[in-house]
């Protein structure tokens, strides 16, 4: 069919060409007419971003980065012996109680029945956490004894990076498994590198093992910062969005300030990073939208747009 006519040569317009495959037509197989690519659509469904909305969303990422920085600051304080673990422990307990009160105050109205149940289950969960952490602390404090410090730091860095990457920024409340687990793993690694009391370390050890209290404090703070704080944030975001923005900014400032008290260079770096993430990256995003060049057409995979829930009943 069409073998005698050369490729691309169109016979006369006596028979109009139809875009069908089942019919023999006097055209070559690769013939296209002037309606070619008529149905091409460019950049369909392109979202128009507004700068300040994107900045607000990016603020959450910056908030999380500064959370990690705060955690590292606390660890640095304990490592250099500037804060004693018992002080930190009581502070943590206080913060937990405050946060819990705030959480309950911001609860949606209308299920008081649920409240009683969740308070009891919350108490159960808290006691499980505390008992397990306290029980495992003696094991955890000597876990990485034989591994050299560089490896431990590398593992920690990797895990915290994984935490930031896998964090569920859209829906904070049920915590993402990978992010939470990575953060806890990193905190265990760090906790085992804290210097211990003079009583507990052996006489001729080159590395002194931390005491159980150090480990316990570290893990409690990790739980607070990585597991419980996002739940409270989610509540805030739901109920009082403008407070949420202020809180994010506050956390950022605290992070920079905390790091600055120990390592000014680090504080400058952190501030730069936060500024990039919050202000520069949205700008880039919006600027680069104009370079987008998506094409859609009838060759795309079919998407079912119908609402199929009517089949559920």
């Amino acid at each position: 069919m069409g073998a005698d006519s050369g490729s691309g040569a169109a016979p006369g317009p006596a028979v109009p060409w139809r875009k069908v495959l089942w019919e023999r037509q006097p055209f070559p197989d690769n013939y296209v007419d002037r309606r070619f690519l008529e149905e091409l659509r460019r950049n369909e469904g392109l979202r128009q971003y507004r700068y300040w909305a994107v900045v607000q969303e990016a603020g959450l990422v910056a908030q999380q980065i500064s959370c990690v920085a705060l955690f590292l600051t606390l660890w640095l304080y304990m490592e250099q012996g500037l804060l004693s673990p018992s002080t930190l422990l009581w502070t943590g307990l206080l913060c937990a109680l405050l946060g819990y009160g705030l959480y309950q105050a911001l609860a949606p109205r209308g299920d008081s029945d649920n409240h009683h149940r969740t308070r009891w289950s919350d108490l159960q969960s808290a006691s499980i956490f505390l008992s397990f952490t306290f029980g495992f602390s003696p094991i955890l404090r000597t876990l990485t004894e034989s591994i050299c410090t560089d490896t431990v730091y590398a593992m920690t860095a990797l895990m915290l990076l994984a935490h930031l990457v896998a964090f569920p920024y859209a829906q904070l409340s049920p915590p993402g498994s990978l992010s939470l687990n990575a953060a806890l793993f990193a905190s265990v690694c760090l906790a085992s590198r804290l210097p211990g009391d003079l009583h507990t370390s052996g006489g001729l050890d080159s590395s002194s093992s931390p005491s159980s209290l150090h480990t316990f404090t570290m893990l409690c703070w990790a739980l607070l910062v990585f597991a419980l704080w996002p739940c409270l944030l989610q509540r805030l975001r739901d109920r009082a969005p403008w407070v949420f923005g202020c809180v994010c900014a506050l956390v950022g400032v605290c992070g920079v300030g905390g790091l600055g008290s120990l390592w000014p260079g680090g504080a400058v770096l952190l501030a730069a990073l936060l500024g990039t993430v919050t202000l520069l990256c949205p700008l880039l995003l919006i600027r680069l939208q104009s370079d987008k060049d998506n094409i859609q057409g009838p060759w795309d995979e079919a998407e079912i747009r119908e609402d199929l829930t009517r089949f559920l009943h």
Binding site: F129, F136, L140, S177, L180, N181, L184, F185
Partner: protein, 566 residues
Amino acid sequence: MVLKIFFPQCCNKADSGLLVGRWIPGQNSAVVLAVIHYPFIPGQVKQYIHQMRGQSGVDLTVLGSWSMPKEGQEGMESFLRDLSTIFPQGQWLQLSREMGKIGFRCEGEKGGEKDKVIFIHYEQRKVMLSQLHPIENGVPDPQTESQLPQVFGTVCQSEPLFFLDKYDDSPVKLTHWQSEGREGSIIVELMKQASTPVCLLTTWILTLSSVCLPRILNVRPMRFISSKLSTCVQLSYRTEHLQTVSSPTRATTHNHFMRKANIFVSFFVDVSLGLLLVSWMYRENRIGKLANTLVPAADHIAKELEELLQWLMGAPAGLKMNRALDQVLGRFFLYHIHLWISYIHLMSPFVEMILWYVGLSACLGLTFALSLLSDITALLTFHIYCFYVYGARLYCMTVYGLSSLWRLFRGKKWNVLRQRVDSCSYDLDQLFIGTLLFTILLFLLPTTALYYLVFTLLRLVVVMFQGVVHLSVDFINSFPLFSMGLRLFRSYRLAEGVKFRVLCEEPGTPLHLMMDINPLKVSRVVQTYRTPTYSCYPKDSWLALCKKLFLGELIYPWRYKTTKID
């Protein structure tokens, strides 16, 4: 169609007479079994053949006539031709041979057509004693396939025909393979006579013991122990063998006979080797010396193990072990060794006496001595087995826990129904505790893995040694010595097929071929006549074994296979 006549070599020089044999149906061939000489009375011949047909079950007939004229016996030809009218037959063969000439002549009358005739000479005695083994693979030729077994079967079953000879004083005088001189051995005859009462006695003893022993052995702990000790297994196995051999009924089929003979010879060789070993060991109180070195050997092994554990508790090969867990495991295993050594020292006064009496059981055969060796090794290295089990269980739990918690780390879980990994949303406390446990198990993995590796290697060494011993026992048990001897010294008894050699090919005379028996290949002899045993063979392939070792599952590399003797 070509007419094939199987002619026995012993009748080549027979006097003239009648040919007795069988027509093979559908193959246009005939087997000549014997020649009946002059003088004979046709009626008596017919009666004799009828009697033989009944006794042997072979369809014997008079095939034709055979003439080898000597001096003073001319004029037989016409006489022989007239005989065809007396004996009823479908086809009458007239074979004749002249003195000094090699070839025969055949005149077969069948509607006047002159068929082409081939004479196939065979050695009657050898064919009678031989057993044909059909080839399993290869394209069977339908024509020759059923012909050869029928020829062999005919000669084999016609034994009653060969009892009477031309030298006997009977109305019918036959020439067949016995005419070349009767053969018989006094020893074989004596053994045949003596075998019956011996068989009866052995059967009686065995039934007596089979009544008593199950009462003892059916108690639960005894049954468990007796299934684990290879000596007891070997004992039960040999009892079974004895039962087969000593059954008073004669063996009916060839296979049955060969099996009985193989078992008997292997038993005999085994017992004689065992007696040799016993006499050597008890001669200069060697057994006492052996007993005296047993306890120091156990001590030495224990000391080596202690040194190994001390090495593991330090920093073995520079690996990073968790100190606390290391100390715990090391102390636990050291305490075990201490217990074991105390036990051995407790037993040491009795060792010599036990060994002396137990060594006597090697009289029952070399296989028993080897099984005893395997059992003693197992008992002496019992602590290594215990360590291996502890190490393997610990490692297995660590690996399973780690794999499950790794799935939790990623937010997935194992769907048992669908046998796949699915995503799962965990609660906060599940995540928390899961991560803690994952961290702990991950950092403790090198320690448990190292202990597991060391004890698995030790266990594998012991298992390899036991395996070698069991393989040799199995070899002695199952190797068909009688069949092998038969193949080497009387190779015509086990035939795989035949080969033909041209004897005489002259134009004008029919073709003469010589049929020689092709003996069975040695590998096929072993394969066909191997006594089925409880052979131990590797249960898993190498890949499955490696996978089991990696996951920490307990391995039992040798499995005993119980086969039914058919």
